[in-house]
C-alpha cells in the first residue's frame, strides 16, 4: 500500500525535472544575452574613451572641488597607512629597485642627465651653496664619524694592512731614511728645546731636590732635639720647655 508522502515526494521530483527541462532554453538565451551585452558595453566604453567627451569629462572631474575633497579625505584616512604597510610588507621598493638596477634605466637616466648638463649644474649649485662644507662639518661633528672611525680601526682589514706595513721593507726604508736625514734631528732638537719639555725636566729635578731637602730638614729637626736633650742632661740642666704659642716674647723679659 502506497503511503501518501511517497506519492507527494515523487510528484515533487517529477515537477522539478519538468521545470528544469522547460527552463533550459531560457538559460541559454540569458547567457547569450549576457555575452552580447558585455561586448556591447565594452565597445561603448572604448568609443567613449576614444572621444573628446571622455577627456573633457576627466578634466572636469579632476578640476572639481569634489575630487580634491575626496583626495584629501583619502589621504587623511587609514588608506595611506594601509598602502604604506602593503608596500613595506611586499618589499615593493626592493623589487622596483632590483628591476631598475637590472635594466639599463638607471644608465639612461644618468646619460640623459649628463647630456643635459644637469650634473655640472648640480655640482656647481652644491659647491656654491656651501652644501659640501656643511655636510662635512655635520659629518665630522656627529657620532657617525666616530662610529666610522671605530669600525674602520676595528676592522680586520685595517689590522692586516698595519701588520703588512710593519712586515714590509717599506717601513724599514722610511725609518732608515728618516734617521739618515737631518729633518728628524731637527724635529728632536725643536721638541727638546720646547718650553714644555724643559719645564717638565726642571720640574722633575726640582721635585727630587725638594724631596731630599725635606728629608734632611726632618732629620735635622729630630737631631736638634736629641743633641739639645743630651747636652742638657750632661750639664744637669732641666729639659727645655715647650715653645710658647702666639707672638714672640720680648727679649728683655728673659
Amino acid at each position: 500500500m502506497t503511503q501518501p508522502w511517497t506519492l507527494l515526494a515523487g510528484s515533487a521530483r517529477l515537477g522539478v525535472a519538468a521545470g528544469r527541462e522547460a527552463a533550459r532554453p531560457i538559460v541559454v538565451v540569458v547567457g547569450v544575452g549576457q555575452r552580447v551585452g558585455a561586448r556591447l558595453a565594452l565597445d561603448a566604453l572604448d568609443a567613449l574613451l576614444a572621444s573628446n567627451v571622455a577627456e573633457v569629462a576627466a578634466d572636469r572631474v579632476l578640476a572639481s572641488p569634489w575630487t580634491e575633497r575626496t583626495l584629501t579625505r583619502a589621504l587623511a584616512g587609514p588608506l595611506v597607512d594601509a598602502a604604506a604597510r602593503e608596500v613595506a610588507q611586499g618589499a615593493v621598493l626592493e623589487r622596483v629597485l632590483d628591476e631598475v638596477l637590472a635594466t639599463e634605466v638607471l644608465d639612461h637616466i644618468v646619460d640623459r642627465a649628463e647630456q643635459a648638463g644637469a650634473v655640472h649644474r648640480l655640482a656647481d649649485r652644491v659647491l656654491a651653496d656651501g652644501i659640501v662644507e656643511r655636510a662635512a662639518e655635520r659629518f665630522l661633528a656627529g657620532p657617525e664619524f666616530e662610529r666610522l672611525v671605530v669600525l674602520t680601526l676595528d676592522s680586520p682589514g685595517v689590522e692586516r694592512a698595519v701588520a703588512s706595513l710593519f712586515e714590509s721593507r717599506l717601513l724599514d726604508q722610511v725609518v732608515g731614511r728618516l734617521l739618515s736625514g737631518p729633518e728628524l734631528w731637527r724635529v728632536v732638537d725643536e721638541v727638546a728645546r720646547s718650553p714644555a719639555v724643559m719645564e717638565a725636566i726642571a720640574h722633575q729635578g726640582f721635585g727630587f731636590a725638594d724631596q731630599v731637602a725635606g728629608e734632611v730638614r726632618d732629620r735635622s729637626r729630630t737631631a736638634d732635639a736629641v743633641v739639645e736633650r743630651t747636652t742638657r742632661r750632661l750639664l744637669r740642666r732641666r729639659p727645655r720647655m715647650d715653645p710658647p704659642t702666639g707672638p714672640l716674647p720680648n727679649p728683655g723679659a728673659t
Binding site: 726640582f206 725638594d210 737631631a223 736638634d224 743633641v227 747636652t231 720647655m241 715653645p243 714672640l248
Partner: protein, 152 residues
C-alpha cells in the same frame, strides 16, 4: 721630637744651614779667585801687583761674606742655606725681619762666638729660646719657617 713651625730652630739645623751658606760663599769666591789667578798668571806682572791683588781679593772676600749674610738676613730673613733647611732669622721682639744694622751686628757676633772654640754657638743648646751669642747681641731669634721652601 719633631718641631712645629714657629718654634726656635735648633743647633743641628742651623749648623747645616750655615755650612751650606759657607760652601756657597767659598765656591763663588774660589771660582773668582781661580779666574783672576789664571788671568794674572798669563801676564808677566810684578810681585807687588800680585800682593796688591791678593789684598784686594781679601777685602773683596770680606765684603762678599758680610754682604751675603747681611743682605739675606735683612731682606728675606733667610739665606739660601736657611731656606733649604727651612729656618728664618727674625727680631726677637715681634718676629719681623731684622734691620741691616742688626744683621751686621749678628754677623760680628758670629765671629765673636767662633773665637772661643765656637763656644758662643753652644749657647744654642742650653738657651730656652735657642739663642747663640750672635742672637743675644743682635736681639734676634732663629725660628722654623712655616712656609716650607720649594725649590721648583
Amino acid at each position: 721630637m719633631n718641631q712645629e713651625p714657629g718654634d726656635y730652630a735648633g743647633f743641628v739645623t742651623r749648623a747645616i744651614a750655615f755650612a751650606i751658606d759657607v760652601a756657597l760663599i767659598d765656591l763663588a769666591a774660589a771660582f773668582v779667585a781661580v779666574v783672576v789667578g789664571l788671568g794674572i798668571s798669563a801676564l808677566d806682572v810684578p810681585d807687588v801687583v800680585v800682593t796688591i791683588a791678593i789684598a784686594i781679593g781679601g777685602v773683596a772676600f770680606l765684603a762678599w761674606f758680610v754682604g751675603y749674610f747681611a743682605t739675606f738676613w735683612s731682606t728675606t730673613g733667610q739665606t739660601p742655606g736657611a731656606r733649604v733647611m727651612g729656618v728664618r732669622v727674625v727680631c726677637a721682639g715681634g718676629g719681623e725681619t731684622v734691620r741691616l744694622g742688626a744683621a751686621v751686628v749678628r754677623l760680628a757676633g758670629m765671629v765673636l762666638a767662633a773665637i772661643p772654640l765656637f763656644a758662643g754657638f753652644l749657647l744654642i743648646l742650653v738657651d730656652d729660646r735657642r739663642r747663640g751669642l750672635q742672637d743675644r747681641l743682635a736681639r734676634t731669634v732663629v725660628v722654623y719657617a712655616s712656609d716650607a721652601p720649594r725649590l721648583g
